[in-house]
């Protein structure tokens, strides 16, 4: 009799206890998810913005101290044509390319991994960010990253820059608004190199052909697509149209 009474008293308590455990678990999971959203959207952006101010100072130092070199522009020979249609050339002022003899280009020494490369400005997409050498996690947390092994901005070949789309300040959040003819300015120690957007496409993250080195001077921007997903990549391809090396490279060796 007593045992039955005890059992009857226990049953509701157990049920109540189970509800409490489930409720507390759901609250905890909710708080963790809320923390995730806050961290991804605001904390990472704060960290990136803070890093940016230091990088701007580093770039000013680099631009003031780095020793530039002038080299004769020679055709690499083994670089294929870029797989994009380009409009007729409209080359703007290029001190290096105005030489009547051999075409020469301004060359700057490669920065060390993690060091500042320059600055990218895309007026239409509201981009004004520092660029660092490397596309590792630690690099892209601070800035737009230049992919090692690809051409430096303003140099012959294909300069590949990657950036976050939604976290760490989201430098490339509005990259999808770019259309053919939009301008991209990349400032390095050798000057400001202006590129004109040629094409925009969505590819798989494994499609490394977009980082291939092509004949001429190209800039390829890559970021995640769609927003808030790492499943694919948005790629914007642009070609050099103005800057210290534009005339020499577009005229050819």
């Amino acid at each position: 009799m007593i045992e039955e009474q005890l059992a009857a008293q226990r049953r509701p308590r157990r049920r109540f206890s189970l509800v409490r455990v489930v409720a507390k678990t759901m609250i905890a999971v909710g708080l963790i998810l809320l923390g995730f959203v806050v961290y991804e959207l605001w904390v990472t952006s704060y960290l990136a913005r803070r890093a940016q101010s230091g990088l701007q100072e580093q770039f000013r130092e680099r631009a003031a101290t780095v020793e530039l070199d002038v080299a004769v522009y020679e055709d690499a020979g083994d670089r294929p044509e870029a797989p994009f249609e380009v409009p007729a050339d409209e080359i703007e002022g290029s001190p290096a390319g105005e030489a009547p003899g051999e075409p020469v280009i301004v060359v700057e020494p490669s920065p060390e991994a993690g060091d500042v490369v320059g600055r990218i400005v895309i007026p239409r997409a509201g981009v004004d960010w520092s660029i660092v050498e490397g596309v590792g996690r630690s690099d892209l947390r601070r800035a737009v990253g230049h992919m090692p092994g690809t051409a430096a901005p303003g140099q012959p070949g294909n300069a590949v820059l990657s950036g976050h789309r939604t976290t760490y300040g989201a430098p490339f959040y509005h990259l999808d608004v770019l259309e053919g003819g939009d301008l991209i300015m990349v400032e390095t120690a050798s000057g400001t190199h202006t590129y004109e957007v040629v094409d925009s496409l969505i590819v798989e993250p494994t499609e490394t052909w977009v980082t291939d080195q092509w004949d001429g001077a190209w800039l390829t921007l890559t970021t995640c697509s769609p927003r808030f997903s790492a499943s694919r990549r948005l790629v914007v391809v642009a070609r050099l149209v103005a800057g210290p090396n534009a005339a020499a490279i577009l005229a050819g060796p």
Binding site: G145, V160, S162, V210, T222, C224
Partner: protein, 49 residues
């Protein structure tokens, strides 16, 4: 939290210190979890290959 505090060994100051250390450890683990989740699901940084 009170129950956890009462279960901790040592004098009150040591219990507070233990709680602070535990909270810091949880925070670090959460940040690592967020970093990993963010880089895998939300935004890798857009690099190719």
């Amino acid at each position: 939290m009170r129950r956890l505090y009462s279960r901790l060994p040592g004098p009150p100051w040591a219990r507070v210190a233990e709680l602070v250390i535990a909270a810091a450890a949880v925070l670090v683990l959460l940040v690592l979890l967020y970093e990993w989740l963010g880089s895998v699901l939300v935004d890798t940084g857009g690099s190719i290959g």
